[in-house]
């Protein structure tokens, strides 16, 4: 026997170590450096829970509803950049989790979701708590697997982490039948996996990057439009460098907030349906548009026909990791498929080396035009009076937290006010459901952030409609002592619905009034937290300071706000983005 034929001692240890599927799950999570597993037990995952009980590598977080487990894992991923991991049981555990999976999928969040399944011999028999998990989740995951043989489990889990975190990220689900989690197999966890059918691109095409550079330098009315892809791709440093190097205006989408610091003069605010006048006008009137990790969706550019027809000579450069995002809604002139960070590093290097410089005169004139739009001060609102304005609460929250909190929101008017008035300086601080628009994410999102960053300030800006969609998680917050600050902008309406009814449905408030609201202060207290009612504008700042001073308590702040306040500017659905309704128009 040649020396090289003798098996490596480690390999022997690996191949002779017999582990159950459940033990493998725990080992893999440890190997992947998972800190938190958000989950909820049930029959099909009992074997896995038994192994969780015996290990110390990660903490299991017991939520009160599976949807919240998914949202919390999702927020952990958004805030840290590491994959979130969740575990739920078969049947109703899975169906409860679907909203959370779909929410993460729409915003391209890396997650690994482990689900229990009925034993393999019972699949297809309409067994107790059986559902076709792979079938139900197929359209809302990046990929999913049903593991029928325990020998495949370790490698499948490796693939799940690999697929979830590479390319355009997304949730990957692994469905494990109960007999598979009980069966034993020799354990080997591969360090890497190769898949011939999955090879995400990374490097952008150098020739395309050069074309982009030339187009950018030739621009007279340039605009840089940055989306969530820049946050997910950890490219905010490069975005900032590029924007400053060129001296061009920059806008962030709802998902991109924080990718470029909001306090910078070159930042013209968020764009889109509730974007600023200066952002939307510059977007519509630019001659060269650089899109970075953004997807021209309907809430951002409005009607694509209007967007194109209103400015047919505009040239578009689009950098994205996903080729299918390019030329999907808007025709692109210079597509660059690749990892945003790497592409920007190359683009910046080329720009620095180029002899040509931006056209100073034209850019100066362009900024003059933009400043004129900016001078409309489209985010101003009526202050004073004895009713609390929701915008004012967000502004004060920004002051009290020095603009440095993790801010989560639910969906509705409060979400837009949070996005408009909390000026995000850093990426991964603004955690919200942009794509699916899921009411109920706010509180579990705050939990995910607080687990990830226990010492940071975490605020959940919510509405009285949304908060009631996952209010049970106040109990989870009590169990794990999560000192989140809930900022309820209580307008006693499903405000965003009421706003659309006011504008587009003859002010008929069909089912948009929230009647029979609970006493939120008492409710918070019943869950073991601190509750506050705040009714006067003059109390807002003091209350916020008091709340944030309570470092170890969850404080539920019920702000009674102006019932009829609307979100401005607003681009009505189906219109072009330069067709904004402003507060002063009404």
């Amino acid at each position: 026997m040649k020396l090289s034929d003798s098996p490596h001692p480690q390999a022997i240890a690996n191949s002779t170590e017999m582990l159950s599927g459940a033990e493998i799950v725990c080992r893999v999570l440890k190997a992947e450096g998972v800190e938190f597993l958000f989950g909820y037990p049930g029959g099909a995952v009992l074997v896995i829970y038994d192994e969780i009980y015996k290990q110390k590598a990660f903490s299991h977080i017991l939520v009160r509803h599976e949807q919240a487990a998914l949202h919390a894992a999702d927020a952990y991923a958004r805030a840290t950049g590491r994959p979130g991991v969740a575990l739920v049981t078969s049947g109703p555990g899975v169906t409860n989790a679907v909203t959370g999976i779909a929410t993460a999928y729409m915003d391209s969040i890396p997650m690994v979701v482990i689900t229990g399944q009925v034993p393999t011999h019972a699949i297809g028999q309409d067994a107790f708590q059986e559902c076709d998990t792979v079938g139900i989740t197929r359209p809302c995951v990046k990929h999913n697997f049903l593991v029928k043989d325990v020998a495949d489990l370790a490698e499948t889990l490796k693939k799940a982490f690999y697929i979830a975190t590479t390319g355009r990220p997304g949730p990957v689900l692994v469905d494990i039948p109960k007999d598979v989690s009980a069966a034993k197999t020799p354990y080997h966890y591969p360090a890497t996996v190769e898949m011939r059918s999955y090879r995400p691109v990374t490097k952008g095409h150098a020739g395309q990057i050069k074309k982009a550079m030339q187009m950018l330098l030739g621009a007279e009315r340039p605009m840089i439009y940055v989306g969530g892809g820049a946050v997910l791709g950890n490219a905010s440093e490069q975005v900032t460098e590029l924007v400053r190097l060129l001296g061009y205006p920059c806008t962030n989408t709802l998902m991109g907030l924080g990718a470029y610091p909001a306090s910078d003069r070159q930042f013209v605010g968020m764009l889109g349906m509730h974007g600023t006048v200066e952002a939307n006008m510059a977007m519509q009137n630019s001659d060269v548009l650089l899109a970075i990790g953004a997807r021209f969706d309907d809430r951002v550019i409005g009607n694509p026909t209007h967007f194109a027809a209103g400015n047919p000579t505009r040239k578009i450069v689009h950098i994205d990791i996903d080729p299918s995002s390019i030329s999907k809604r808007v025709k692109v002139d210079v597509p660059i498929v690749g990892n945003i960070k790497d592409v920007l590093i190359e683009l910046i290097a080329q720009l620095k080396a180029a002899e040509q410089k931006p056209n100073g005169k034209a850019i100066g004139a362009w900024w003059k035009q933009i400043e004129e739009w900016r001078s409309k001060d489209c985010l101003k609102y009526k202050k004073g009076g004895d009713i609390i304005k929701p915008q004012y609460v967000v502004e004060k929250l920004w002051e009290v937290t020095k603009g440095d909190a993790y801010v989560t929101s639910d969906v509705g008017q409060h979400q837009m006010w949070a996005a408009q008035y909390y000026r995000f300086e850093k990426p991964r601080r603004w955690i919200n459901s942009g794509g699916l628009g899921t009411m109920g994410v706010g509180l579990p999102y705050a939990m995910g952030c607080k687990f990830a960053f226990p010492d940071a300030d975490v605020a959940c800006i919510t509405g009285e409609g949304s908060i009631q969609m996952n209010i049970q998680e106040l109990s989870t917050c009590k169990q794990y002592q999560l000192p989140i600050k809930v900022i309820l902008l209580n307008n006693r309406y499903l405000g965003m619905v009421r706003q659309w009814q006011q504008f587009f449905h003859g002010d008929r408030h069909s089912e948009s009034y929230m009647d029979a609201l609970p006493d939120f202060k008492k409710l918070a207290e019943a869950y073991g937290h601190v509750g506050m009612d705040i009714e006067k504008p003059s109390d807002v700042e003091g209350a916020l300071k008091d709340a944030f001073a309570m470092k170890d308590r969850l404080v539920f702040m019920n702000f009674i706000t102006d019932q009829k306040e609307n979100v401005f500017p607003m681009v009505p659905g189906g219109k072009g983005i330069s067709e904004m309704i402003l507060a002063e128009d009404l």
């Binding site: 011939r196 059918s197 080729p323």
Partner: protein, 163 residues
């Protein structure tokens, strides 16, 4: 315009439903779809005939490519290719129609692969147009049932689509 897409996909449970689900979820047309394992049993080859503008077909190609199980997708319309479809037709074949049906089948190079006293089953391969033409040539009232596989195709000559 009509496009014929050729897809190499991992021969995994559920792979077909991923592709079919994508088409229905995004509202793309499927005129026909065929799938079977290749000479490499770990891979299946799928042929989808679809229609749409160039932009739509480009999106279809990108979206299908994004499916984790898909190894490769090629739009055969981008080059010279051959395509074939198989059809079986059962006809009422009695009296003088028996000879007439046989003659028509011969003209189209179709074969009678099953016969009873009263029926024929005729097999024909060719492009979809040829199959349509054959059906037109038959007396409608004699057609009892038809089944078609949908098109499958290959690039011509050295154009080889491999994993």
């Amino acid at each position: 315009m009509r496009h014929i897409l050729s897809i190499l996909i991992e021969n995994e449970a559920g792979a077909l439903s991923r592709v079919a689900g994508l088409f229905s979820a995004r509202g793309y047309n499927i005129e026909s779809l065929t799938v079977a394992p290749t000479e490499d049993a770990t891979l299946s080859r799928m042929t989808i005939v679809t229609s749409g503008s160039d932009e739509v077909v480009e999106q279809i190609t990108k979206q299908v490519n994004k499916l984790v199980d898909v190894v490769k997708i090629v739009d055969l319309n981008e080059g010279k290719h051959v395509e074939r479809e198989l059809m079986l037709v059962k006809v009422r074949a009695v009296g003088k129609d028996r000879d007439e049906l046989k003659r028509t089948a011969d003209i189209f190079r179709a074969r009678v692969i099953d016969l009873t006293e009263k029926t024929y089953v005729i097999e024909l391969t060719g492009t979809g147009n040829k199959l349509d033409a054959f059906l037109e040539a038959l007396d409608r009232s004699l057609i009892l049932e038809t089944v078609r596989t949908g098109a499958c195709g290959l690039g011509r000559g050295e154009w080889i689509i491999k994993a």
